[in-house]
């Protein structure tokens, strides 16, 4: 109980104090996870939309694979990206390992399947409704993809939030490919892991509360936006 109240006090202190180190960690967390969401969205949203409208051999297998990859353990994802980006790996010449770029890459790999699978689910129901009308307009499945993505923009916001939540909460991948370097690749989750290692459990918990507060804030903002938009678009 003592630890918990100490954690609450520490969390309030962290948020109020404006410690530049903590602010840097928060900023990097946001930058890494939001960048990962953007990159994963550039791949995952069109892929999900394609799977929603197109019928081709192997589609079922691809959907099953994506659904399975939604459960990809971050550590495995991190290891995979580590081996790719290591100087001894195929992409070693990029020099990305132990940089925020590597963390963005790992989180993007982690959440792209989530975005693709959820996008497919959302847009498949839209497509059922739209398909005949769009074909009447002369728009085939390919032309339907941007239409569905645009019309689904508010529902897809929730999908992006799911991706952001997963990215900002994971520790396994960024720990491995980022190295938790102080002032350079340390983010909220790896900082929490570090403070736990050092046995400073109240501080670790306080950082966790700060992380939750940030995720909550992002979600609340998106929810407000979505609420307004839903009232608008019906």
């Amino acid at each position: 109980m003592n630890d918990l109240s100490a954690a609450f006090a520490a969390a309030a202190g962290l948020l109020a104090g404006g410690d530049p180190a903590v602010l840097g960690i928060i900023g990097l967390s946001l930058r890494v996870s939001l960048s990962a969401v953007v990159i994963a969205a550039l791949v995952g949203l069109p892929l999900g939309a394609l799977l929603a409208v197109a019928r081709f051999p192997g589609r079922g297998a691809l959907i099953v694979t994506l659904n399975a990859l939604m459960g990809l353990p971050p550590v495995v994802c991190g290891l995979l990206v580590y081996l790719l980006l290591s100087r001894s790996g195929p992409l070693g010449s990029l020099g990305l390992l132990f940089t925020p770029g590597a963390m963005i890459a790992a989180q993007a790999v982690l959440i792209a399947p989530i975005l693709a699978a959820l996008t497919r689910q959302v847009l498949e129901s839209y497509w059922e409704e739209y398909a005949e009308q769009l074909r009447s307009f002369g728009a085939g499945p390919w032309r339907a993809i941007p239409t569905l993505l645009w019309d689904g923009r508010f529902a897809l916001l929730t999908v992006l939030l799911a991706g952001f939540g997963r990215a900002s909460a994971e520790v396994g991948a960024v720990m491995i490919v980022g190295g938790n370097i102080e002032g350079f690749t340390r983010v909220m989750t790896t900082a929490i892991a570090l403070e736990t290692s050092k046995g400073d459990l109240p501080l670790a918990l306080a950082l966790g509360m700060v992380l939750m507060a940030i995720v909550l804030g992002v979600n609340a903002a998106a929810q407000t936006l979505r609420g307004a938009a839903t009232r608008w678009a019906g």
């Binding site: 005949e132 009447s136 239409t147 608008w232």
Partner: protein
């Protein structure tokens, strides 16, 4: 008024359609010419909607063929409005410009045409409203205006008033009459005989997947040629 490269008349030869081994249409041969609306009537399950979709190209026939006149690509010269309007999650205006963009019209032209079409269906004042917040009647008028903006030579309407109240029905019928008068060929299905009498130039009577009659409306309603049509007009349940 009509361009010399018209796609009409539309003819079908021994058109047939089956779905999952179940025959739905047999041996439908018809000719649709320019002129007043052709109204397809018949009991539920007669195959009216399927016939409309075959003609519009949304379904592929399992037998027979469809022939459009002229040398022009018939595809962009047709439009269709469905029983339940499918509206995009966008504004009224954006719904109307969307198919015009697909048709390759320049942005300025799209806007002008769309606004004219919205004027026609009485929705100009609602141009910026999200389409899905309109009433059912307004939604169907928007679907009609959106199709009309394409300036189709032939417009297919599948039970356009089936879910509308009398006032909304009246508004939709007025628009249909106006489009027809302006030279758009209307081909529509309806299960509402009164509506058929009001709108039809010719009647096509479909029964159990067969086209039993195609004749001028006045003649059809006064002297149906087949006992099935007579029974249907008399209000008997024909099956």
């Amino acid at each position: 008024m009509r361009a010399p490269d018209t796609i009409l008349p539309l003819t079908t030869e021994a058109l047939g359609f089956a779905h999952g081994g179940q025959p739905i249409l047999h041996d439908v041969s018809l000719t649709i010419e320019a002129g007043p609306p052709s109204v397809i009537i018949g009991p539920n399950g007669a195959g009216k909607s399927v016939l409309l979709r075959l003609l519009h190209g949304l379904l592929a026939p399992s037998a027979g063929r469809i022939h459009w006149s002229g040398i022009a690509d018939p595809r962009p010269r047709q439009a269709m409005v469905f029983q339940r309007p499918v509206l995009l999650r966008r504004s009224v205006l954006a719904n109307t410009t969307y198919p015009l963009g697909l048709a390759g019209l320049a942005r300025g032209e799209r806007d002008a045409r769309a606004r004219a079409a919205l004027e026609l269906v009485g929705l100009a004042a609602l141009a910026d409203r999200p389409a899905r917040t309109l009433s059912v009647g307004e939604q169907q008028r928007l679907a009609l205006g959106r199709a009309a903006a394409l300036r189709p030579e032939i417009l297919f309407l599948d039970e356009p008033c089936a879910s509308l109240d009398p006032a909304a029905t009246q508004a939709v019928e007025a628009i249909i009459a106006q489009l027809s008068a302006a030279g758009t060929k209307i081909v529509m299905t309806t299960h509402d005989l009164a509506q058929a009498r009001r709108l039809a130039g010719e009647a096509l009577f479909l029964h159990r997947g067969r086209l039993l009659e195609q004749s001028p409306a006045a003649q059809f309603f006064a002297h149906p040629a087949t006992p099935e049509a007579a029974a249907f007009l008399a209000g008997a349940l024909v099956w």
